[in-house]
Amino acid sequence: MASTSPATPSSSAAPSSSEAPSSSEAPPAARGRRPGPQTAQTIRPEPPRPRGLVYLELVGLAVLAFIFFWVTQESGDILLIPLGFVTLWAPLNPLIGLLVMLVVLALCFKAKVGTMAAFGTVAFIAMSYWAGATVRFTLLEIPERWSNVEPRLMAFLDPNWSYIWTVRDQWLITISMAVVATLIGCAIGLVLAMYASPVSSPNKGTSQAIKAVNSVIRSIPDVGWALLFVAFIGGTAHGLGPMAGILALLMFNIGIVAKLLSETIDAVNPGPVEAADASGANLTQRNRLAILPQVLPGFVSYGLYVFELNIRASAALGIVGVGGIGSAMMLQLNRFQFENVAAILIALIVVVLLVDLFSMYIRRKLL
């Protein structure tokens, strides 16, 4: 802004006015200081130099991260730095991390990147280093361990097709679980979303409380719910697998539907709501007649999305004993019969694709 303002020849031809702000056009808080004489044609807006102090703090942050990496590192690679009179030593990997961070900071300073963006970059590098160190990221072992993968991949190329039909009961259970959990979960999710959104809930306290409950429900992963309900009421071993699975999927669905739908309700057109209020509708009538018709397409679409998620999840949840196709797969996996596992997995892919197509069809038909 300040750099474009000296458009008159008198101020542009003169040397930079920042030292002596005599010209009236230049505002006193001129940011872009450019030394040397410059004509109006060559002056381009340029970001200001970020403050060095903040960058020094970022360097301090990088050093702190280095110390943290050093303390928590597990590999003992040591880098020795002979300086003649004394030999310095430093842990290899954290040192590399520190160097990367410092180089990036220097580049950011050179490119006049803002402090917040520079902080974000450093935090990103530190986070990636930490995550990589925690999972011991390496791709060097792939050639040695490739022999473990080969038999399984061979099995996948040659699945036991006759096995697919023998687990049809398990498929029925899986799909039934998904249907029941989707329908009940969407119904409960609708009610919760109505109470969670400030637009449709009776008061602010209710909406905050429901939102808190919902985020607790959502933060426990589906397999956590499955393990909980298997422990509560018994799993496949007691013949209660489907019940536990449905309850687990139910909680999973409630979290998703309530979250997505309450955000949709937040964004509804306020006109019908105001009209309902003005004509004296109570809360239920208002939600039923002014809000529900607006969010119904979204609701149906979320329901179909959740149904698709349920098919995948209930296949996976069989691993922890909730019945369905996953338990059959786990059984074959424990027997090392990869041909049968491959058959189930291929059937799973086909079923997921079919459900995807089906829900796409319904969505296009309804919306």
């Binding site: 802004m1 808080a29 940011r31 970001p47 200001p48 970020p50 990147v113 803002g114 402090t115 917040m116 963006a117 974000g120 990636s128 930490w130 995550a131 990589g132 925690t134 999972v135 011991r136 990221f137 390496t138 792939i142 361990r145 490739w146 473990n148 993968v149 259970i173 799909i175 039934s176 679980m177 249907v179 029941v180 329908l183 607790v216 933060s219 426990i220 992963p221 589906d222 956590g224 393990l227 298997v230 422990a231 509560f232 009421i233 209660l240 489907p242 019940m243 449905i246 995948r312 296949a315 996976a316 949840l317 691993i319 922890v320 997995l345 799973l348 892919i349 997921v352 694709l353 995807d356």
Partner: protein, 384 residues
């Protein structure tokens, strides 16, 4: 003539579309309309319609409501809706039978929730002695390992998803490439991540928390992230504003330069938001891989549930909830900042944040209440 048409009234309104025909409303009695009378064929058609009212109508001849504006609107048929609801109900009941649920188990559920919930609460709220503190530390370690798995998985997915997203965007790549890449992506999306884990990653990298299982889980999450991420990114790319593209082409840039200077600045905030969203999803997904032996919180969960140590289960659940909610909050903050721009100046000048591709505040920035404009004005005036 109008009398005759009146007699034809009641049955005719049920004909769908009869009222909607705009030509039908050339009323012959409206003498102010010269065209209706100068056109002989039109007049003749009207006359026959009026005369033939009492007789059976010829096919193809419109019959009209006498005064359609006075009639109450006909209720739309609810047949389709009812049939749909009935179908859903039948499917629901069939599914209940098909799943073979035992409703007797539901009767015991409240009692066992209370009983085990008390045990868990005792575990959480007990005064931490050395072993209990160890449980807490172990749970946090496992949860952080899950976060690391999700982060590495997201990084792997992000690395591949950006080029794949460009290849899968219709306005960026030729048709054959587009079709092939789209097909690959939809196959990847159809394969659940446990399949990648079981079939390839776990045998490739090893099982267990320490023995490479975490890396296997991260790679499985990464590969399965590519599908969703690329699809979302390609949709973002397809929705870019065409103006910068045209101007970069007009000034003679090649494809790469156009992507760098016209497309990337537009889509980058959205892409970062998509990556962060996937990171949250991956944290939850890593739990199920952990049960398979990929380390992280899932492994710990299956261990403590296998041993049925309810106090430890309570501690693990609390740790999961706390860490997940904190990560969600941070990620939501970053997403909001990336999309709406943090220190967006109101004077429209060059700001430091503009350099990393943070967008202009955009039209949706205006009505937001939480972005108080006053401090920004102050900061802009102070020249920060």
């Amino acid at each position: 003539m109008s009398n005759g048409r009146l007699n034809a009234g009641p049955g005719s309104t049920s004909r769908p579309g009869a009222d909607n025909d705009p030509d039908a409303h050339t009323d012959p009695d409206a003498h102010t309309d010269p065209d209706a009378h100068t056109d002989p064929s039109d007049h003749a058609a009207d006359a026959t319609a009026g005369d033939a009212a009492a007789q059976p109508r010829q096919p193809g001849q419109p019959r009209f409501a006498p005064d359609a504006l006075d009639r109450r609107p006909v209720r739309p048929s609810k047949l389709g809706y009812n049939i749909g609801m009935l179908t859903v109900g039948i499917i629901f009941i069939a599914a209940v039978y098909g799943a073979g649920m035992d409703f007797g188990a539901l009767l015991n559920l409240p009692a066992s929730i209370v009983q085990y919930g008390q045990l868990m609460a005792q575990g959480v709220f007990q005064v931490p002695d050395e072993t209990v503190a160890g449980y807490w530390a172990q749970s946090f370690d496992a949860m952080f390992e899950s976060v690391a798995i999700a982060w590495v998985g997201t990084m792997v997915g992000a690395l591949f998803s950006l080029p794949m997203g460009f290849l899968a965007a219709r306005n960026m790549s030729p048709l054959p490439v587009y079709i092939v890449v789209r097909f690959i992506l939809s196959v990847i999306r159809a394969v659940p991540e446990i399949i990648f884990a079981i079939a390839i990653m776990l045998p490739l990298f090893g099982f267990g928390s320490g023995g490479g299982g975490a890396l296997a889980g991260a790679m499985a999450l990464g590969v399965s992230s590519i599908g969703t991420l690329s699809k979302l990114i390609s949709e973002a790319i397809e929705a870019v504003d065409g103006g910068p593209l045209e101007s970069s082409r007009a000034s003679g840039s090649n494809q790469l330069q156009m992507i760098r200077w016209a497309v990337m600045p537009q889509v980058m905030p959205e892409v970062v938001a998509i990556w962060l969203y996937r990171f949250e999803v991956n944290i939850r997904a890593s739990a199920i891989l952990g049960v398979l032996g990929a380390g992280g919180i899932g492994s710990l969960l299956s261990v403590v549930f296998g041993a049925r140590e309810w106090d430890r289960i309570g501690i693990v659940l609390v740790v999961i909830i706390v860490v997940t909610m904190v990560v969600d909050q941070i990620s939501a903050f970053i997403r909001h900042r990336v999309i709406h721009g943090g220190g967006a100046r109101s004077d429209g000048g060059e700001t430091p944040e503009d350099d990393d591709g943070a967008p202009d505040p955009g039209p949706e920035h205006g009505p937001r209440v939480e972005d108080d404009p006053a401090p920004k004005e102050n900061r802009a005036a102070a020249g920060l």
